[in-house]
Point group: C2
Chain length 297, copies 2
């Protein structure tokens, strides 16, 4: 079994794979031509099972094209079975036509991989599994939240989903830690268009609350929820999030919300020198364990 790391794989995740899972690792030669085109090469011969690991953030489009190039190069090497490990999958939120004239972005981007006989994707908390299975992929989706909360070592009284759609994620965590679970009902103000959270809906007085979500992008959703929870008397609020696409702006937004901690997986590369209240947890062992269920390597 050979594991090929592409440039999007976070360093800490790659290190985790090597140290904790004992995987044989191959890093392709890659470079960028003066005009901006990417080049990749796998100089070593490859035999047997091959897994290609790429995280599709930041610079999603570059990471996607690099993935195509790698998959084509691996095909040319005649590798027997190939599967993908995508710790972060891009373009899965636009998984259907919400409005006429929109693309199904997931199809536009991932369909190409099917042409290279890729049939399995191992992903961490993918936004829409169905968008990938409908293209013919078998998807192993790993939810890391219990692992994250465990690593954080914080006792919580209530697990909250920031909206109804995120409830299954929260229920999983609540079950693991044997605490109650709920979700936040958001209301859109029909005049201003602003999203607000109704205080009377939140019965969190004196509680330590964990908000469980898949992605932080601007940080707005978590910040707004934390604000409402503190206003309703919560003792502390911790955010448990799979993918943190952290910019300076999102770190500021979260910081001003007074959450006591953000605990998040190392599925995407993150800035150095993060503030202390952000805890990044290695999830390589979770991924290894999932893969070892169905691959012998």
């Amino acid at each position: 079994m050979i594991f090929i790391y592409l440039s999007g794989t976070p360093n800490s995740l790659a290190k985790g794979f090597e140290e904790k899972c004992g995987w044989k690792v191959l890093r392709p030669i890659n470079k960028v031509f003066p005009d901006g085109e990417q080049y990749i090469r796998l100089p070593e011969a490859i035999a047997g099972n091959v897994a290609i690991i790429q995280s599709l953030y930041p610079e999603q489009d570059r990471k996607i094209v690099e993935l195509y190039l790698a998959v084509e190069a691996v095909s040319g090497r005649g590798a027997r079975t190939k599967f993908l490990i995508l710790p972060y999958t891009a373009y899965t939120r636009q998984d259907k036509r919400f409005l006429e004239g929109e693309p199904v972005s997931t199809k536009a981007v991932y369909q190409n991989l099917r042409l290279f006989e890729i049939d399995t994707i191992v992903a961490v908390d993918v936004h829409s599994i169905q968008s990938l299975t409908s293209l013919g992929f078998k998807v192993h989706n790993i939810l890391p939240h219990s692992h994250l909360l465990n690593a954080a070592g914080e006792k919580v009284d209530l697990v909250l989903a920031p909206d109804r759609g995120a409830l299954p994620r929260a229920m999983e965590v609540a079950k693991t830690f044997n605490v109650p679970c709920d979700y936040i009902e958001k209301f859109r103000d029909r005049v201003t268009g602003e999203i607000r959270i109704d205080r009377k809906e939140l019965n969190v007085s004196g509680m330590s609350v964990a908000i469980v979500d898949d992605i932080i992008s601007t940080g707005g959703t978590i910040a707004k929820a934390a604000h409402a929870l503190y206003n309703a008397g919560a003792k502390s609020v911790i955010a448990v999030v799979s993918h943190s696409l952290l910019s300076l702006e999102s770190i500021d937004a979260l910081s001003s919300s007074n959450i006591s901690k953000l605990v998040t997986a190392n599925t995407v590369s993150m800035p150095n020198n993060l503030p202390k209240w952000i805890q990044v947890v290695d999830v390589s062992s979770l991924i290894c364990s999932e893969i070892s269920k169905w691959v012998s390597y």
Copy 2:
């Protein structure tokens, strides 16, 4: 017939299509999410024939993903026949495995479009037609050099290809203008690895020479050729190039080579305020004329 312009289409080319060819034009809504993912939407209904126009430079990977999204959106609109106009095609130089373990980049990138029932590509001076036809595309390849040299209004005594591979391009121009044609033999110094041009091979004394090529990227090839030609006694050297991927560095390299003019097509977006010796020629009428041979619109 509807023509959909994506963000890579140079403004002057889009204007040329509208003014000279009288095409009905549709520009999709597009935006970029805070995390960097692209979004596109075609709000108007579409019927009949649809052409999608995208130039795949600069930021090749972003332009490629935008193209995928547009093609998927057009498919969702149920358009009857679709073809692509690609004034500049990226990733066509790596059209085979030059070394083991390399990808066929052309296949990695363009194969996806075949899944959306795209069967025809109209391109300007694509580096490797065969790399696209082998994927099942019908390719209409437009060579703009005679049009460019004509627009430049310069009399030349000799047309030169900068290497043997570029000779067919030069022969086409030489035939149009009824002048002789040759190519420059390059030698690689076995010790230093440097490419040099043997002076004794060049019989250009007192001549006005046109160098005909497909792409300027660093400007190094043209600059080196011009230098050798002036050293061999050429009176003037003009560069006639399809695609100019102009950076400040390449403009400097060309400027110091003393070429009297660079005449080039508007197939890619170029910086504003170009120096006077660079002449950008609109090739929309060439593309229109090619398409009108086989499409009624």
